[in-house]
Symmetry: C2
Subunit: 207 residues, 2 copies
């Protein structure tokens, strides 16, 4: 059974999800499908040209405090980035193009740490190159492939697909047609997928 993880590298609550989804999914033998998308394009269609956490600053201030508490409870390091939201186009192209590479989950965690732990600029090629060191592959050729028109189109299409699935925020999770939104729904989505998986196992029969 698969769980699709839809995320945006600028999204605050996607950070604690990205740091823990792999171990949670593994505990239920679930496969993660990594689905980066550009949440800003979805927001644009709702009439927002900035993060709603900036537009609605009272809610935004609450979010930073809440995220701090959430990360503290999960023992995940957190420092409020100076720039929010950051431009995650380059790492999104990398993660889309190489979504099935064995190193993609490590890369994704590195980019989130760069943003929400180390206050680094994730639109910088140097920062993303450094995040790609975990790949053990030739970093320059990864970046080159991520910047082809084909890769750009793939990310655009994936963002379109997010909209078609009714995704309006990040992180989101899809298990079949069932949609879950928010870091605080991660456990429920994992359980949903595990229940579906259990149902799909045919009972053993000697006959």
């Amino acid at each position: 059974m698969k769980i699709e993880f839809w995320f945006d590298f600028a999204s605050t609550y996607s950070y604690p999800t990205a740091m823990r989804i792999e171990s949670l999914a593994a505990s239920q033998n679930l496969e993660i499908v990594w689905r980066p998308f550009m949440l800003g394009a979805i927001f644009n269609r709702q009439g927002w040209n900035d993060s709603p956490f900036n537009i609605y600053s009272v809610k935004g201030e609450y979010m930073w405090r809440d995220l701090n508490r959430v990360c503290d409870d999960l023992q995940i390091p957190f420092f409020r980035p100076k720039i929010f939201p950051q431009n995650g186009l380059l790492p999104s192209r990398v993660a889309t193009t190489f979504s099935e590479a064995p190193w993609v989950s490590s890369f994704i965690r590195s980019v989130y740490s760069a943003n929400f732990e180390h206050n680094q600029d994730i639109s910088s090629p140097e920062v993303i190159e450094s995040c790609l060191n975990c790949s053990g592959e030739d970093v320059a050729s990864i970046i080159k492939k991520a910047n082809t028109e084909e890769s750009k189109d793939r990310l655009r299409k994936q963002t379109e697909d997010a909209g078609k699935k009714g995704i309006f925020g990040a992180p989101s999770f899809c298990v079949g047609k069932e949609l879950f939104w928010g870091n605080d729904r991660l456990e429920r989505a994992i359980q949903w997928a595990a229940d579906k998986k259990a149902q799909s196992i045919k009972p053993y029969s000697r006959d």
Copy 2:
């Protein structure tokens, strides 16, 4: 130690919170301060003249599905009301005026059940009178007192207070100056209050 429960009778996620907060708080010997307010007035200031779940319908459709799942997990009956958001002014005035009455928690649960289980009109005096049967007191005089100018002013002031505390949605919880938002933060808010309570108990000393 006290936990303030800020709620709006039209608010969807306040429903599962209202149905379970009393037993959760009791398990930690916490006192609940019941704080109804008019969320619509807060939304108005953000430029919304309707629930954001109606304005942003994709998010709204997700919310109904999610609320259904949440209530199902908690074994709380749920039926999507035909009218949303309902006008909760009258029950809010009652709950504000009688926030310290021993029957207030039962009344609040009755109103939420009327809205989210029985699809009743909670702006109707007859419905609210029926919800007040749990009080064991003279219902007509309760309604009369709730409709005085003094009671109306009290609810207005309480809504102002919500805004001053940085409350932007419901349910919200305040433990001292710490703010929590959402049914999915109820357990964390209860734990926060319990931890504060434990810290406030002076160690016993023989000296």
